[in-house]
């Protein structure tokens, strides 16, 4: 070794290379969006080091050990020298072990063990086991969607190939091990065969849950129909055991099946939550999420670490909050943003995390702490103060967004043993689909798809009332002191009722029925349990 001489040699011990450098692409997920990551590998002479830079999280930093061991255990030499891996862009946090495979391929390319020009255009995703197997990672669908725009061929773990194939037009290579990938890149073997494509999601079936399973409750069933048709949020109150949970579960069956775009949206979120592999078939159905009332804010909205919350798992589906009064106040408050905007934004981070949260809310509440306030057969043991306080918890942004209120009473003996035949789920769904088709025509080119999401301008445009209907509404505003918000809610529901009847014009009967769903009983039915309004006016608790 002469002094001052640059003795950069190939670490393989043969031949001279001036510099050893390779590039390959990979991906990371932020929120629900996939981002492509440019992996650069540089091997230079010097003290042996292996560093990964580019805001790697702990799992990515641990890649070093996994990659080195996987390469060795695949029968390939791990190059000596100073290895620096850069994950660009440097200001995007990289999370999770998804870059393992790309880093390994980059190192092999830089050290001349696989042709660098074949590796450079690829986008490789996958975690490496110590024995060289390539493991599936969450979020492959999001990354595949990001890769779609660039046209890069995608190299994915065999376990995630089904997910990647949901994106049309992508060139995909599925590998089970590093050895397999290397053999393919060296031209020694054809690309490994793709596993069977996933069966297309079956048409949404009812899984044995039909509306007719519930006895009586005609009003509540009608409310479900309206909720399904127009995307309206629904509150059911009533004593325990009256059927609120049963009814809520049947809402998903009334909704139209997921369309192609919605299906991808749901798959993306479930992939990131790590749930897609376990439950792929059901994705044809609308999601139904029912968190327990002890759920935390993070569990409901999502964590800063990137895990989607219940509201996102319910995207394009139903979020059912049973015993909604039991949820903590701060958790209910936190639902304001998703209810308002259909999205959860965690803005405290350097890059705001956005999760979708376009769900239909169904809430079930007991009327009071013991549950029997207003029950005609059992006595309520709560003080008027307790009842008022209990009902007051359901206030603020949530109450504003609940378009439909229904009070359930226990069915009569006649209803339990026979009574009028109940509408069935297929029957109601047919009407719902018709109403949805009307809305699709109405909102073509607009940002919303359902009546419930109309803004003020749209309400003015699409919910014009004829003379008779206007009169009914006017009288109600006078009598019940309806606020502007309440009027808007009533108009939206009336619009949906007209759609369900196949009518373009909103008539007085639609306004009348819409008013029946608002949070105060119509004056004619004195036997119906009182709501908070009459209570606050000083009425008797019983």
């Amino acid at each position: 070794m002469k002094k001052g001489e640059d003795t950069s040699h190939s670490p393989q011990g043969g031949g001279r290379c001036l510099f050893l450098f390779a590039r390959v692409r990979s991906g990371t997920v932020y929120g629900v969006d996939g981002h492509l990551v440019q992996v650069e590998v540089d091997i230079s002479p010097g003290l042996p080091l292996f560093e990964i830079v580019g805001l790697p999280d702990a799992a990515v930093r641990e890649s070093r050990d996994r990659v080195r061991t996987a390469i060795r255990n695949s029968g390939l030499p791990f190059p000596t020298g100073r290895i620096v891996v850069n994950l660009a862009p440097a200001d995007l946090p990289k999370a999770g072990p998804a870059c393992d495979l790309a880093i390994a391929l980059g190192i092999l390319a830089a050290s001349g063990q696989v042709p660098a020009e074949k590796v450079a255009p690829l986008c490789a995703v996958g975690e490496l086991s110590l024995d060289g197997h390539v493991r599936g990672v969450p979020g492959v669908l999001s990354i595949a969607l990001a890769a779609e725009a660039t046209g890069a061929p995608l190299v994915v773990p065999a376990a995630s190939a089904g997910e990647a194939r949901l994106v049309p037009g992508l060139s995909i290579v599925a590998v089970g091990s590093l050895r397999e990938a290397v053999a393919w890149l060296r031209g020694a073997a054809p690309p490994p065969p793709l596993p069977e494509p996933p069966a297309p999601p079956p048409p949404a079936d009812d899984e044995g849950e039909d509306l007719a399973d519930v006895r009586g409750q005609a009003m509540a069933k009608r409310a479900l129909e309206v909720a399904a048709a127009g995307g309206h949020n629904l509150l059911m109150t009533g004593p325990p055991g009256v059927g609120k949970t049963m009814l809520a579960r049947r809402l998903a069956g009334l909704l139209p099946p997921l369309d192609r775009r919605e299906y991808l949206d749901v798959c993306r979120v479930y992939s990131i939550a790590g749930l897609l592999a376990a439950d792929p078939v059901r994705r044809g159905r609308r999601p139904f999420r029912a968190p327990h009332h002890s759920a935390t804010r993070a569990g409901l909205l999502g964590g800063a670490r990137g895990t989607p919350g219940e509201v996102s798992l319910a995207d394009h589906g139903v979020l059912f909050l049973d015993e909604v009064n039991e949820f903590s106040r701060s958790v209910l408050e936190a639902l304001r943003q998703p209810l308002e905007d259909g999205v959860v934004v965690l803005a405290r981070l350097p890059r705001p995390l956005r999760f979708p949260a376009r769900f239909t809310l169904v809430a079930a509440a007991n009327p009071c702490p013991c549950g029997y306030y207003g029950d005609t057969r059992r006595e309520c043991r709560c003080s008027p103060h307790a009842v008022a306080a209990y009902q007051r918890r359901l206030s603020g942004p949530m109450a504003d967004r609940l378009d439909l209120h229904v009070e359930l009473t226990p069915p009569t003996w006649g209803e339990l043993t026979g009574g009028a035949p109940s509408p069935t789920t297929p029957q109601v769904r047919a009407r719902v689909l018709e109403a949805r088709a009307r809305q699709a025509r109405r909102f073509r080119g607009e940002a919303v798809r359902t009546n419930a999401r109309m803004n003020e301008a749209m309400v003015r445009r699409f919910c014009r009332l004829d003379g008779a209907a206007e009169a009914v509404l006017g009288a109600a505003v006078e009598r019940f002191h309806l606020s502007a918000r309440a009027v808007a809610r009533t108009l939206k529901v009336a619009r949906t009722l007209a759609d369900l009847a196949g009518r373009e014009r909103i008539g007085p009967e639609h306004v009348q029925e819409a008013l029946a769903f608002r949070p105060a009983p119509p004056p004619a039915s004195a036997s119906v349990p009182r709501h908070i309004h009459s209570l606050m006016a000083g009425g008797d608790a019983r």
Partner: protein, 124 residues
């Protein structure tokens, strides 16, 4: 640097290690390199690599020897390596750290030699 079993044994182990490495094609450049920052048992050239070798002699066998090259020891070896490179103004050299574990019998005679190439990196 030396095994805990006494200076004589240590020197013996080093000699055995050097012979073993030479037979493998290592070109021994320096023995017992010492400086303020640390010390290195053997410096050799192997192929295109400059190799710094730590020799460990133990009675109990190979696994024990490897564990004896702990973080503190590695820091001293890496420090000495940096010193060696700086003094000789060596730039752009590929460097490697190897460990030679020499297993001794009851009388302290070497019975087995085990070489681990690229035993650790410069992350210390």
């Amino acid at each position: 640097m030396r095994a805990a079993s006494g200076p004589a044994r240590g020197r013996w182990a080093e000699a055995v290690a050097a012979e073993y490495l030479a037979a493998l094609g290592y070109q021994i450049l320096t023995r017992n390199y010492r400086c303020r920052r640390g010390e290195i048992d053997l410096v050799a050239r192997h192929g295109s690599c400059l190799v710094f070798i730590e020799v460990k002699a133990r009675r109990r066998g190979v696994p024990d020897s490897l564990e004896a090259v702990d973080g503190r020891k590695r820091r001293r070896i890496v420090g000495a390596a940096l010193d060696y490179l700086a003094r000789r103004r060596l730039v752009g050299v590929t460097v490697r750290f190897d460990v030679v574990a020499v297993q001794l019998d009851g009388q302290g005679r070497p019975v087995k030699v085990h070489l681990i190439q690229d035993a650790f990196s410069a992350h210390v």
